[in-house]
């Protein structure tokens, strides 16, 4: 909350909001609609990345890039998944609110009926875990007192245990269908994740009332 006070800063321009492309985009646009943001141009099949909506500039990007832009102040506010924030916890940004959509779970999964996760831990002392979230995985196993070899992959992580690259995977699941179709099953739940609203530290300080007003609109529009 900002209480109007005289400051010598006269910030300029519209606030910039970083919006994630990919799985969160649809629900994010619905949220913006409910917050009275005109998303027509965003919904058009345009290849544009920046949408100037007058009092707000929306920039679209990969979810994992959102903290990078927000930390640097290239975007004032951003929406991204908690999974991204946990993985990039060293980035400095305010985590303002839980927008309560995009529910998923970060899980440890292995091949259905397969014992190699436990066997590797028992006989070899380590489990090999493939993931797109290496820091999340490392922290989780460190906190639970288990030794792992984390293998970072960029693409379909389900492939890793099927080809013998890893004993299991740490990944984000929404419905669990992809796991199921690949003969994998959830072994442990690491944490639940939803979409979060984050903010640049300096924007939070200097953009005062405009900033708080937009945050209130977005929070009010959250399901």
């Amino acid at each position: 909350m900002v209480v109007a006070g005289p400051t010598s800063a006269v910030p300029y321009g519209a606030l910039r909001l970083a919006v994630p492309r990919g799985a969160l985009l649809g629900e994010t646009l619905d949220l913006l609609d409910r917050a009275d943001v005109d998303t027509t141009s965003l919904r058009s099949d345009s290849r544009a990345l920046i949408f100037d909506l007058g009092d707000l500039v929306v920039v679209t990007m990969r979810p994992s890039d959102v903290p990078t832009y927000v930390e640097a102040g290239a975007a004032d506010l951003g929406i991204t998944g908690k999974d991204v924030l946990v993985e990039q916890s060293d980035r400095v940004a305010y985590e303002l609110s839980d927008l309560r959509y995009g529910h998923c779970r970060m899980v440890l999964a292995g091949r259905r009926g397969d014992t190699s996760l436990g066997e590797s831990a028992r006989r070899l002392g380590v489990m090999r875990i493939a993931t797109k979230y290496p820091r999340t995985a490392e922290n989780y196993f460190a906190e639970t007192g288990r030794q792992v070899e984390v293998i970072e992959v960029k693409g379909s992580v389900e492939l890793a245990p099927l080809c013998g690259l890893a004993d299991g995977i740490v990944d984000l699941v929404a419905t669990g269908r992809t796991l199921d179709e690949n003969g994998l099953e959830v072994r442990e739940e690491i944490r639940g994740c939803t979409a979060r609203l984050i903010a640049n530290r300096i924007s939070q300080k200097l953009r005062g009332e405009t900033f708080d007003a937009l945050v209130a609109r977005l929070e009010g529009a959250a399901p």
Binding site: M1, A4, G5, T7, Q204, K205, L206
Partner: protein, 334 residues
């Protein structure tokens, strides 16, 4: 032939150096003009001596020829505390000192962070009451920002003890306080809200105060606003900040200062007022400081101390950005 230098370090060529030196010179004139004498301390110190001071741990340690462990300083505030207690102990305080020099910290790869960076700052050690010291330091900081053309820069003013004191006043148990403080330090307001809601036995007003105070910022009315929400415990916890604020107002420099009840710094030697410097042209803080009464006592007799330190390279970036913006504004819309 290209020969590498370590990541996070850089060479400075004449054009940039000229501009950096101009910034340094403008700051030096401001500091000296306000009665702050320039000092220098070695970049390399005994590790054990630096460790005493706390703060950011030194990232670089080496053994000297006798097996003694040396460390590169991670800031200049700790060395100055040592200097005051070792070299100036025969001189009656207050000591007004300023410095320019490089400090060294660890970096995360590919993040544009610097292992070696230039700091400029002042320290006011000993002497009168806390509020006069804080206002004096803020006044020098404000003139320094003007002297380098960052007239839009804002000084964030908070109190390192305010939120902690409030939690004690409200009667939260220590484990709950620690968890909430950790969430606040991470700027994770979602977790903070969840922890406050989960904490048992809180009055509604106190619960709201704990949730809302971290984002309360603005003019002097902020304090009254916070008291309206949280009542007597907030009034007691924000008392010192209110007095500082009144004094800034008397000096006519309150318009550059933004009160920020959510401000917290993670260095353990801060005990009271904390300062941060922002410019709308840059997404990172330009510097910070505050009051660190606990620090001097680690090297000798207890003495109050207040100061700030600015990141010179960031000042330079902000200056360049501000110039770019005013050029664009002067040119007008296409």
């Amino acid at each position: 032939m290209i020969h590498p230098i370590p990541e996070g370090t850089r060479d400075i060529l004449p054009d940039e150096m000229l501009e950096l030196r101009r910034i340094e010179q403008a700051l030096r004139e401001t500091f000296l003009g306000a009665g702050y004498g320039e000092v220098a301390t070695p970049a390399l110190e005994y590790h054990a001596v630096l460790e005493r001071g706390g703060g950011t741990r030194s990232a670089f340690r080496i053994f000297d020829e006798t097996g003694g462990m040396l460390a590169l300083r991670s800031d200049i505030t700790v060395p100055i505390a040592r200097l005051v207690q070792s070299r100036l102990n025969a001189i009656e305080p207050p000591h007004r000192l300023c410095y320019f020099g490089n400090s060294y910290r660890s970096i995360r790869p590919q993040r544009g962070q610097m292992r070696e960076f230039m700091q400029a700052g002042i320290e006011l050690v000993g002497g009168g009451g806390q509020e006069p010291a804080t206002t004096e330091v803020i006044r020098v900081l404000s003139s320094a920002l003007d002297a380098i053309g960052l007239t839009r820069a804002v000084i964030g003013l908070g109190d390192a003890d305010l939120y902690r004191a409030l939690m004690v006043e409200i009667g939260l148990a220590e484990p709950e306080r620690d968890a909430i403080l950790a969430a606040l330090l991470k700027h994770d307001l979602v977790e903070l809200r969840a922890l406050v809601v989960a904490a048992g036995g809180l009055q509604e007003g106190h619960r709201r105060a704990l949730i809302e105070i971290p984002t309360m910022r603005g003019g002097p009315e902020v304090i009254a606003c916070a008291i309206a929400v949280g009542g007597e415990p907030v009034r007691r916890a924000s008392d010192r900040l209110a007095r500082t604020c009144a004094m800034l107002d008397d000096l006519g420099i309150a318009d550059r200062v933004q009160l920020d009840l959510g401000l917290l710094r993670d260095l353990d030697y801060y005990t009271g007022v904390i300062l941060e410097v922002y410019d709308p042209a840059l997404g990172h803080i330009l510097g910070g400081g505050g009051q660190y009464d606990a620090l001097l006592g680690r090297y000798g007799p207890e003495m109050p101390a207040t100061g700030f330190s600015l990141y010179v390279e960031r000042l330079h970036i902000a200056q360049a950005e501000e110039e770019r913006i005013s050029r664009a504004e002067a040119a007008g819309p296409d």
